[in-house]
Symmetry: D2
Subunit: 405 residues, 4 copies
């Protein structure tokens, strides 16, 4: 448990912070303006591609990928403070090619894809020239239970035929989004966790239809977009299967570990920004003859926010460190813990900041309301809090039972 960042990481931190304050933060409003000025909201604001080029040139690119052949080769612990910094702006992760769900998809391809799949899809994703989506969750069933999944992937000669309906396929609204990783059942009669498979489905395959894009608390999250997609007799080559039939659940488990912790790191970064905004606001706003910082409960909010952020960060570092040292499976209790803690902490801190900002807080003049809505989904995505708490408790009970014997 040595959380002290190496010199390499400190250098990256410094560079990234400078890039954030000089390039990303000032361009947040440019990005919004370009988005609103476009013919539709489903086009990419040009400033994004400009910033991506700058980030690439600065060596701040694909930092998330531990794989040394394809990515920066950083450990989870090394990446943690960097992801936190990126989390401070909603547009930052993409600037550095570190945004969900592409990161998770790239990891899957790097880890479980074969050479051909990597050439075809991983390289352009790493390059930032295409985007991807992940089609797992289904509207009709409680998808936190993987055995509930109803989409089917049926072998037919040299092809697989895919049928099903998915939603929360985030990123599919993006015109650059070319490929989906789809989870479905190849064998509903197999063992509980060997029924599912994952397969690569190009979005222009006949039978793939984006039915609509879902709002999140009124936000359309354009141009990214959370799509509901129907797959009707979609045929793809058999070689598109990932790893092999029946490996879907195993891949999902492998994918979710890093994905979850990245979300946590970014949530903490946004909590930090919210706290910073709040501290600034209450230092300068006056009511009833005193600045807000000198009234009632405001200082308690600041203290509690600092306390909660600090603890969440330490727990994230511990989970990251364990993932590095003992692997995602042995670290699953720590991952579950931080998966519960980080979004809840961020939501509380942001909510306090909103309250301190008054009407401005719920509007889009500040990034608070949007951040709140965005992070609220993380209490549900990749399993609701309740499922993770339940896992933690079961591990505790099991460990105690074992000890007693």
């Amino acid at each position: 448990m040595d959380f002290e960042p190496s010199e390499k990481v400190k250098a990256l931190e410094a560079k990234l912070k400078a890039f954030m304050s000089e390039v990303v933060i000032p361009n947040e409003k440019v990005y919004q303006a370009q988005l609103e000025a476009g013919e539709s909201r489903w086009q990419i604001p040009p400033i994004m591609e400009e910033m991506k080029e700058q980030a690439k040139a600065a060596g701040l690119w694909n930092l998330f990928l531990p794989n040394e052949r394809y990515g920066a080769g950083l450990t989870n612990l090394e990446y943690a403070p960097l992801a936190e910094i990126m989390g401070g702006s909603p547009i930052a992760p993409e600037v550095f090619n570190c945004n969900a769900p592409d990161t998770g998809n790239m990891e899957v391809l790097a880890e479980y894809g074969n050479e051909e799949q990597q050439q075809m899809w991983l390289l352009p994703l790493l390059d930032g020239s295409i985007r991807s989506c992940f089609s797992m969750t289904e509207p009709e069933v409680a998808s936190s239970d993987a055995t509930n999944i109803q989409a089917s992937i049926v072998r037919d000669g040299d092809e697989y035929i895919i049928n099903g309906r998915k939603w929360w396929s985030s990123g599919a609204g993006d015109p650059r989004c070319k490929i989906a990783i789809v989870m479905g059942k190849t064998d509903p009669t197999a063992a509980r966790h060997e029924q599912q498979s994952m397969i690569l489905v190009p979005l222009d395959t006949p039978g793939v239809k984006i039915e609509r894009v879902l709002n999140v608390f009124g936000y359309d999250h354009a141009p990214h977009g959370h799509a509901e997609i129907s797959y009707n007799n979609v045929r793809v080559p058999a070689k598109n299967i990932l790893w092999g039939e029946g490996k879907g659940f195993a891949i999902a488990q492998g994918r979710l570990g890093p994905g979850r912790i990245h979300h946590c790191m970014r949530s903490i970064g946004m909590a930090e920004r919210a706290l910073e905004l709040m501290v600034d606001r209450v230092s300068n706003r006056v009511a009833f003859g005193k600045r807000l910082a000198d009234q009632g409960v405001i200082r308690e909010w600041i203290a509690d926010s600092r306390i909660e952020i600090e603890q969440a960060r330490l727990l994230t570092l511990k989970a990251a460190d364990m993932m590095d040292k003992v692997g995602n499976k042995a670290a699953r209790k720590e991952i579950a813990m931080i998966k519960v803690v980080a979004p809840n902490v961020a939501l509380r801190v942001i909510d306090r900041a909103i309250q301190a900002f008054g009407g401005a807080g719920v509007s889009d003049d500040f990034p608070l309301a949007a951040a709140w809505a965005n992070i609220r989904t993380l209490r549900l995505a990749d399993g609701p809090d309740e499922v993770h708490r339940d896992s933690i408790a079961r591990m505790e009970l099991k460990a105690a039972a074992k000890k007693e014997q």
Copy 2:
């Protein structure tokens, strides 16, 4: 403290409930579809005017107005269960001409307007043919402190000249919105609470400019709209002043009592609907082989929601009853209490329901996310929670000090 509804109220309750389930709830999706199909989002879905006619015909019209000459003549206590029922749907209050801020504005006109002002503006508002907005809050200052207000209202011969910038002038996005009640200072040198005045400003007066419409957690709340409005040398006839110069603060105090409690009643109604939706969902959704209702903490959520709603409703009834019996001023502690309680209860209940719904909960497939965003503003509107808590505590401290003497 007799909360038992009279026969008259029971009959209205029954009629209203039937109207909600037969007309309003089924038309929620029609309303949305028409809104989205319109050329712009700032047009009125035709179904709204249809429902208004039906409600008028059914005698479910202007129930909010205690004034017997112009309205239904119900007491606050009588109106409470009716407002709660209306609160169950975001589109319902307007159907019954009981929506903010028009209700508050109508009360101001009925109470403090002169005959000419009433003929000109109150009658068409009561009829539902025009809409209105309330221009008090300003972007540059903490407006919970009324002395912070910067807009000026200056007498010039037979006219007043208005200058200032307001935001959260809700309803100004509506094409039917014709009139604003504007708060500003006529005499910044007067006593603390006699500096402010209110004046009627037709929205088509030169110099009135709707700068933009504010989002609330990503929702534009079209076609209603929360406007930022600039008033640049706006000239209106001197007779447009309400009650008289220096009466602005007094009117605001009078206006806010009923306005606050109406919001509370409706919040409770929405909490009830969220609980109903949650109970329905968890009774029918299955994960890990059991319906959600039989898992972990779900039943605790249901119980806590019921407990909190029940208490909030009783406190609302008490506050309403006191307003009727001892007046808004003597009831201000109870009003402050329920102003804090009701939105917070509703937010907790809705948030639990969102969590129980999973991804669907944060989307617009159910009214939960929109309701949450909407009610979140009520912790700020008409004074943030913290200001009300502070008032309650000061009243307690003062009462104790008095007793001791």
Copy 3:
């Protein structure tokens, strides 16, 4: 739902308040001093019997008993504000012969006892000359599930033989305690809720042994005392059975309704006293140059305390009113709700007061620490919060299911 007290109740309230401030509160320290000066802590401080005489003379006696033949004949709603007043002092309930568990036991005897049982045990209890205990909970099993009960009551000719071990038989430490109502199984093979019976056991019967007295957070609650009692082949006449074999569960259910709500009323009374003490303390104590009432979060504590107490009181009144109008069974959701709410509210209010008092708060210089410890047991007694929340949720789910059909 008419909570307005009648003239009769108002008169009792006034008299009771005067008695509390003139007699009971000033004698709290006398009571403690006499208790500590006694040879053992299991003697009755003489001031108690003196105050009882005064209360009897003042007509403030047995107010709890709705039965008109034996008691004051007040409804639950009428008794509520009176019980709340008594709750303000730990020694008050006994002064007015309204203390647990004697009240519950007297109700059982008045309701289910036969004439002989009433003559023998009810009359001296009503008179305050003896005390009683209630022996239901067992140390070895989770007693919130009545079918877990292991004590046996076996018929043997004209007698019953009782065997078992009970604890939390509160009041058995009192030298005046003469009689126990014991719950046990007469027929373990009968239907789930007809296995249990209740029987009257004089404490001087051979085989009855008080094993020890339990502490509650370090308090021995002398001279009342929470006893662990063993019953070893205890023989009592067959006529001592209450109502009949197999009626134990039914009696327990009947007994617990009023018992629970009395505890709630008193908890609210103690919360009021804690708030009063806190308001007084923070108005007079100075740190860092300002009185505590003008610092940080203190006023938020006062406001939240007032808000929570007010709501808890209203819910208690509603539950009491329903018990009176539709009976304990139909009111069981409301009883369960207030059973959860009242102790938790009181604990929060008292805990805030303790915090405001600093070191003095955890000591016995003020009644706060003792009150906290005492009320903490109410989250467990008569079923833990969790069991009651579960019942509430099941009732909600059932009602919704019924509606849907």
Copy 4:
């Protein structure tokens, strides 16, 4: 931030854990029994001195003292996991000569005492042959503000005369307690933080009178005891002053850093024990046909407890590490944070365990109720939560203001 324990620490951990489970935990009941069997509660149960000898022999002695001349020479970070282990039993800290307030007093003597003072008082304290108390808090004033202190220390020739009244002089009930460190004002006209001095007062000096021992939630904490002590014209040699006149506040600041964090470490240890007890209980207790661990919210309690403990521990380690590396002053934000977090976490975990234990939880059959009461005082001792939160917020505001410039 390298939290990995060294080999030396790991070895101590292992030895200490073994000693706890083999010696201390099994003797908890022996200690209680001996205490109750004694003539008075203010005698030392012989088992304590026996265990102390064993601990000394095992090299588990004075581990708290960073000073290498007198103590184990461990850093705060090294001592943290050891103190946590000791925290698991209320009697453990004394067994290892690591109990408050002696640890703090020994640190003061080692750090600020002169050679003579060390010979006279530090050596027997290190040896465990005498005990000490710390007389700072006063009943009449809010002592979290050091300038409020009223006790006087007046120079008179070769002596100082001490007058004042102190309470919460913990440990003074112990017959082995020989020496008090008393805080008072030598110069009320000096600068705010130079008015106070500390002086050594042997408890047998004429004029020192233990007025009474304070209860904590009903516990007398015998034979330790929290004393109220009056100092009436108490004369001690002038050489008894610590460091020098006017240094009292500085010593207090220095003393409180380690003292606070030791309390935190131990609180976490007790939280761990409570969680362990709860997990064991719910795994084995059955109600309504299922073990408690499989019902309702119990698993949520376990998960939340684990999550909160884990975070509190990490924050404690960070604070300890900073104290070691940058000093107590630079680490004061982290010390304040953990001072707020650790007791609150422990109280929540213990309260959940109490609830899971039912009636047994509030009794003294398990260490839960006593631990709760004990740790509840830590939200007040060495400054209430509110004062620490306020400091944290002020540091945040100041840092932000500095950054902006």
